[in-house]
């Protein structure tokens, strides 16, 4: 979506006249998840993705490439230095990225957001990350839409056994979602998992 521009130092390749960007699983958890066997990626061309915790936009830029011109990435990150990079290096250069400088705990206050999302992608390192993601889904995720939730064990409880933490967080989703798959991001990120859950609506 932004030819000629490398967002985080990734390699740009030209194949048969089209530019491709190398997607680094050590830099992007979504790539790591795919490498580690995600069965179905719900993000497709045309998808409208609500991205909580977009950070400097590394993964968001790849999502932008996938969803293409008919899709949209609503990138949520609180105002700050990190958000500044997201704004200058990704959002302002890609017509399908809408930056929303806000805390993900306040989904009712997302200026620039409109309509429902097909996918909510949440990568927030906070103790209450799961509750936050669920609240956003209830407000914006369409029926049969997907939640891709990154669970970082140490942010939730730095002392407990990670596997236990991940099980517990996944259990919190069962009330409202159908758990499709949980992928361990080992090799690329220690004590992280990405859970794909489907929202019945």
């Amino acid at each position: 979506m932004d030819p000629g521009c490398s967002v985080y130092g990734e390699k740009l390749l030209d194949r048969a006249g089209t530019e491709y960007r190398l997607w680094d699983p050590f830099r992007s958890k979504l790539a790591a998840c795919i490498y580690n066997g995600l069965e179905r990626l719900p993000i497709i061309p045309g998808s409208r993705v609500l991205y909580l915790g977009a950070s400097t936009g590394t993964t968001a830029s790849h999502v932008s490439d996938i969803v293409g011109g008919r899709g949209a990435v609503f990138a949520v990150e609180p105002a700050g230095r990190v958000a500044r990079d997201l704004l200058h290096r990704v959002a302002s250069r890609r017509p399908n990225v809408i930056p929303i400088m806000q805390d993900s705990r306040r989904p009712g206050e997302y200026p620039g957001m409109y309509g429902a999302a097909d996918v909510v992608y949440a990568d927030i390192a906070q103790p209450d990350q799961t509750a936050m993601a669920v609240a956003n889904c209830k407000m914006y995720l369409r029926a049969e839409g997907s939640l891709l939730l990154v669970i970082k064990a140490r942010s939730i409880d730095s002392v407990r056994d990670p596997a236990g933490v991940i099980r517990e967080e996944t259990a919190k989703l069962e009330a409202d979602f159908g758990i499709s798959q949980a992928v361990d991001l080992r090799t690329y990120d220690r004590d992280h998992s990405l859970v794909h859950a489907v929202y019945p609506g």
Binding site: P78, M101, V159
Partner: protein, 373 residues
């Protein structure tokens, strides 16, 4: 019943299902931001609504209208959801955009501009400046100690006996600035801040000093170094007062619970007031002790009882067996204080009282050390 709908591109007033007023924003991001921070008066909207009651979908706009004594209340969650899902149609209906594509385009441009404002506003946030000041303070301390140590050793070639007599950095620097031994008198020592007795001792050893002579060139450099030490020392004091002032003004509750210095250091470790306010009290308790924490996770030993919080007088002056409990109590109040400061900034006296009560409780209940097993 009127329905006031604030959108990114302007305000729409509905009478039932029909649009009764449309108030587009000339500069959407600026005007929207002005409503969010309460600085806008929205006069046009106020005259539309004169004498009627209305629901409003945005809390900031609601506050502005309420301040003007208008009869308004927040719309229902159902209505808010409806507005969110039909945003594009509303914008087209209201004439703020020519169609859905145009609406999406304008919304994105709005988002870019508002984001830019918010980032700028955030970077003037007082807590960020306090964090800068704390970092500068630490570096100043390092610089002062290093420079003073060289100054003492260097001037000590000329007047070695001064080392054990002149404690304190500004005092020694004051003497070294004054030049050669033969030019020093009791007055010099007293001017440097030492009492009469100490000054007399210094004068005595000065006359019998076994230090070597010092050349003009070297003396000049030592005096320049001493002058620099004094300048750094002054700047350090100013920086500390500045931090104290800023903490009291922008984080009054954290300052009440932790004191300006410890509070500023915790703020610095957290990265911002927003982040500090989102931390659990157990995280705050061990902020600063991350190495010890990870070591305890690796080796399975006891986790640390306190991090930066140890610098709090209540914690380090408590008897050893009470410290963990005291740290926990202070951290709990600090977490609440940070949230109050982040959300409202209003001082709350009850917090400190409640902490002091808890500390007394701990010091009573655990008066005696635990028995050794």
């Amino acid at each position: 019943m009127n329905r006031v709908v604030l959108t990114e591109l302007g305000i729409v007033v509905y009478d039932g299902d029909k649009i009764s007023n449309r108030l587009p924003f000339g500069s959407p991001a600026s005007e929207y931001a002005a409503i969010q921070d309460g600085s806008s008066g929205v006069p046009a909207l106020k005259s539309c609504l004169r004498g009627t009651d209305a629901t409003v979908n945005d809390r900031a706009l609601l506050r502005i209208l309420r301040k003007a004594s208008m009869d308004v209340r927040e719309c229902s969650e159902a209505e808010a959801a409806d507005i969110r899902s039909s945003k594009l149609q509303i914008l087209e209906e209201a004439g703020f955009a020519s169609g859905e594509d145009d609406a999406m385009d304008k919304l994105r441009r709005f988002a870019l501009e508002l984001s830019s404002f918010r980032i700028a506003a955030e970077s003037q946030s007082p807590d960020l400046h306090i964090i800068q000041a704390v970092g500068a303070l630490d570096s100043l301390d390092d610089a002062i100690n290093a420079a003073a140590s060289h100054m003492r050793e260097w001037y000590g070639l000329h007047f070695p006996e001064l080392e054990s007599l002149a404690d304190g950095i500004p005092g020694y620097a004051g003497i070294a600035s004054a030049g050669r031994r033969d030019g020093l008198s009791r007055g010099t020592f007293e001017a440097a801040g030492y009492d009469a007795r100490r000054s007399e001792m210094m004068d005595l050893v000065c006359g019998k000093s076994r230090g070597g002579e010092i050349s003009d060139a070297n003396l000049r450099m030592v005096q320049a170094l001493a002058a620099e030490v004094l300048a750094l020392h002054r700047l350090r004091s100013e920086m500390e007062s500045h931090i104290d002032e800023q903490m009291r003004s922008s984080a009054p509750n954290v300052t009440a619970i932790l004191g300006a210095t410890v509070g500023a250091k915790l703020l610095s470790r957290a990265g911002s007031l927003r982040r500090l306010a989102s931390m659990s009290s157990s995280t705050i308790q061990i902020l600063g002790a991350e190495k010890a924490l990870f070591r305890s996770l690796k080796t399975g030993s006891q986790p640390p009882k306190h991090g930066l919080l140890f610098q709090h007088p209540l914690v380090h002056s408590a008897p050893r067996w009470q410290r963990g409990k005291v740290a926990r109590a202070v951290a709990a109040k600090a977490a609440i204080a940070a949230r109050i400061d982040y959300h409202t900034g209003e001082p709350n006296g009850a917090l400190l009282q409640s902490l002091e009560a808890r500390i007394s409780e701990i010091s009573e209940k655990y008066k005696d050390p635990p028995e050794r097993p």
